[in-house]
Symmetry: C2
Amino acid sequence: MRITQEADYALRAIYYLSTLEEGTKASANVIARSQNIPLRFLLKLLQKLRNAGLVESYMGVNGGYALSRKPKDISFLDVIEAIDGPVYINRCLYDPESCNNLGVEKCSIHKALHQIQENLKKDLSSINFQQVLDDTELDGTEYEEV
Amino acid sequence: MRITQEADYALRAIYYLSTLEEGTKASANVIARSQNIPLRFLLKLLQKLRNAGLVESYMGVNGGYALSRKPKDISFLDVIEAIDGPVYINRCLYDPESCNNLGVEKCSIHKALHQIQENLKKDLSSINFQQVLDDTELDGTEYEEV
DNA sequence: TAAATGTACACCAAGTTAGTATAATATTAA
DNA sequence: TTAATATTATACTAACTTGGTGTACATTTA
């Protein structure tokens, strides 16, 4: 019932790109060091984000990666599904044909799980990176704990 | 981001026991056949449910398993955590000490994930087996589709 | 053309999952 | 008291997933 470490890294990579001025690139090296992500692993993961259309990449000297949309238009669900594939909380909900019970339609258990899954996906898609940025700023500055 | 097949089986086993008269036992064999679960695997999984206090077991001839509480007092979360362990949607939320970013407190990403996790757990704990029973009865009889 | 960058593909160790196998123990009924 | 029916305990395993690493190549800029 958890996201992979790779998806966690991806969230942090997208977060880092969100902190930059719109359109600014960052190299994998810089992202890796700033977020404490193994470089090789990050490079591979960035390809998935690129294939999903979340980032753009630029080769060569001064190359790097930049968001292809504004932070407010990228949700946690976008990132997690780009890396881990579709979110589904049990087998039968992914491939109802292979369900060895009665399938999603007939089985009350799976119907209930389906509802929970949809709530989860809604939650994940309702949070975007602008919100995370705003939250971070609040924490560090204005509202310092006393 | 999914429950194991074992947890799915466990939900179905508990569901089956919920359909019985209160206090009635069923043997692992009967449960296995009725829910299409591999017997050996079911036997092992029933131990976990027993250790978690969800079912009681009886050895010997006419032995078997029975719920230790009423269906309405057993939630999906109870069953899933009995089998898969605590629900947490990423590593850092389970063991914040080993977080290689800033930990749940400092990192906005992990704070957001934590909120989503709590919603998920609330959802899973809000559904119990009496509800599933009721839903099943509605389906099969009164409300048959035309 | 050298240096800095991303891309592509292959490989691998460790852990997890979904089981299976075997033998022992407890209870009941004949 | 023995046979049959159950659960319990322990150990094993094949396949898959995860979280990486290694090597070689392609592109861009100075």
